[in-house]
Amino acid sequence: MSRAQILNSISKNKPAPVKLPAPRKIFDKADEDLLQAFIDKAIDAGSETENFDSFEKVEAWVKQQRKNGKYVMDLSMPAGDPGMVDMVVIRGQLGVAENGAVWIDDEDMPTRKSPFVTNHLVLTLEKVKILPDMHEAYSKVDLDRTSFGVFIAGPSKTADIEQSLVIGAHGPIKNTILLY
């Protein structure tokens, strides 16, 4: 059995035990303007952001899109081919100020492929859910209760041809974050 062989070889060869370092101390960043930092980083990553005072206004924005004739896919209307609709709207659970990324969980996605195959991904995010960095983000994410989750920072992109940045490699060409 390869499994036993590999594990035996590791236990025979592994170096003397090295201690796990103490968890990194979380610095107090309360004085930082997290919202502004998040918006700056999100824009750097190619996202667009919109500001709202309340969740009702966000809902009104989505309703307006539908009124304008856009086909909007979200949890309330999950039917259709996410590759063909005008936009997919997904609730973001938290945002990270140091990199402009938003965490989404598959319980909030119409389907797992929907955030990737759509041309326009729209993420909603409560402003109070913005955290300073990845350390604090992971202290809030419960992976044991997650089946599939993803941090998304901006639209799909590539620089594989001569380091020229091109937006919309395979997935979304546009990534909008609705903050409330």
């Binding site: 390869s2 590791i10 370092p21 380091q163």
Partner: protein
């Protein structure tokens, strides 16, 4: 001398070498900008290094913990002793599903296992979906960089290639246009994918899931359309848990491409309804490497490529000159373990300047390992005769201070009066592309003797 010979070919085209050099230096500079924005950067590197050393020194326990939790999550776990076994496992999963097409995203491990040629021989069509990887697959080449596989190619060459393979407009080599053509072409493959394959950036022991990072979203495009997801990881990819993942994710993209984080950081914990995740854990020589006192820390590597981007030798010799899947400084300390005889020259493809160690996010002492590998190469009798003679000669000279001083005096005079062709000829390969500085009138010792009593 294989690397030196290949590098000479690469250097024949001066402007192109400069272009390659600058393209990589640009990435290095982007990394510096990101690093400067993180006040506790050095603390993060310390943490990352210590977490990896801790995990590697308890690797069997962590792998077993990971396996238990992954199985509980409904992930099917396979163990492959070597490349052959890995490749056969992938083939078997494909055959059992009755599928003869594999849509895959970037994985240096599958390159190491030479999986694509194996599968193609068995009648499987392999579609690389990362743009850079697709380009070099079209060109029938190997990646020249672990993060930027097609960094050695000019857009004009990509344009020509796409004309032939994708029917793009002749003469149009605008990256935006070419990427658009690849997007259309690959989308068809994504939508039709039945089995998709990815690498693994990190596997988490405590939650039994794994993480894949991409900018293009190609890994997720393939996986979520397919009903079977195969992921391959080296045994060294496991880390304890999410609090440690945070440390690595803050370092990885900043070090790799100068981004604060990749566009997509996907966490696969459980398969989707009616779908399967197969995870293959691959050894392929790693567990043996773990037992090498001076070299095991190379297994801390998270494959960011920062050491390639900063290396003065890599930037001016290109990834293909190394003759192995993983080129550059990190490749040169991983390959001698794979085949000391075949890659005995790679530890010498370095000026030992130490820039690689300075930028490494997990603090691998790369240049020191290069130096230790040189000694290993010599002990195993794999040093070329020319080098051995030169080193023996220099060793004797440096061990005799009198003789050294005399030869220095002689050389300073002789170099002044010797005709150029006697110094720079075939017997002096060092001088092929380099000139000695003008010999000084006196040595430091002579100068010091003259000046020490002056005030």
């Amino acid at each position: 001398m294989k690397h030196a010979r290949a590098a000479r070919e690469f250097l024949r085209n001066g402007p192109r070498t400069d272009w390659h050099d600058q393209a990589l230096w640009y990435v290095r500079q982007k990394r510096d900008l990101q690093k400067d924005g993180i006040p506790d950067w050095e603390d993060l590197r310390e943490q990352a290094s210590a977490i990896k050393e801790h995990t590697l020194s308890n690797l069997d326990q962590y792998l077993e913990e990971f396996e238990t939790n992954a199985l509980r999550n409904g992930i099917r776990v396979h163990w492959a002793l070597n490349a052959q076994e890995h490749n056969h496992m992938v083939l078997e999963i494909l055959q059992q599903a009755g599928v003869n097409r594999l849509v895959k995203s970037k994985s240096m491990l599958t390159e190491e296992c030479q999986m694509n040629p194996f599968l193609e021989k068995k009648g499987i069509e392999v579609i690389e979906s990362d743009l850079g990887e697709r380009i070099i697959q079209f060109a029938e080449q190997d990646p020249s960089h672990i993060v930027l596989p097609a960094i050695h190619m000019k857009k004009e060459e990509v344009g020509k290639l796409f004309e032939k393979k994708l029917g793009t407009k002749p003469g149009n080599h605008d990256p935006q246009y070419l990427t658009g053509a690849a997007r259309k072409h690959l989308r068809e493959h994504f939508l039709a994918a039945e089995v998709a394959m990815t690498g693994v950036n990190f596997a988490l022991a405590e939650s039994g899931g794994f993480v894949v990072c991409t900018n293009e979203g190609n890994a997720d495009m393939g996986i979520h359309h397919a009903s079977i997801h195969i992921a391959s990881m080296g045994i060294e990819k496991v880390i304890p848990g999410k609090e440690h993942l945070a440390v690595f994710l803050r370092l990885l993209a900043r070090s790799a491409t100068g981004q604060p984080v990749t566009t997509y950081t996907s966490h696969f914990q459980r398969p989707d309804r009616d779908k399967e995740i197969h995870l293959i854990i691959v050894d392929n020589g790693r567990s043996e490497h773990l037992g090498k006192d001076k070299f095991w820390r190379a297994l801390k590597c998270i494959r960011c490529g920062a050491c390639l981007n900063t290396c003065p030798v890599y930037r001016r010799s290109g990834g293909h000159s190394y003759g192995y899947t993983i080129p550059g400084p990190i490749g040169s300390i991983l390959t001698p373990r794979v085949d000391l005889k075949a890659f005995s020259d790679l530890p010498y493809a370095s000026s030992l300047c130490g820039s690689c160690s300075d930028v490494c996010p997990v603090k691998i002492e790369i240049h020191e390992q290069l130096y230790h590998w040189r000694q290993e190469v010599n002990e195993q009798g794999e040093l070329s005769r020319k080098k051995k003679l030169g080193i023996r000669f220099m060793g004797r000279l440096l061990a005799r201070p009198r003789l050294y001083q005399k030869s220095g005096k002689f050389a300073r005079k002789a170099l002044r009066i010797t005709p150029r062709f006697l110094v720079y000829n075939r017997l002096n390969p060092w001088g092929l592309s380099r000139d000695l500085p003008e010999p000084p009138r006196q040595s430091f010792q002579e100068w010091y003797r003259e000046n020490r009593n002056k005030s």
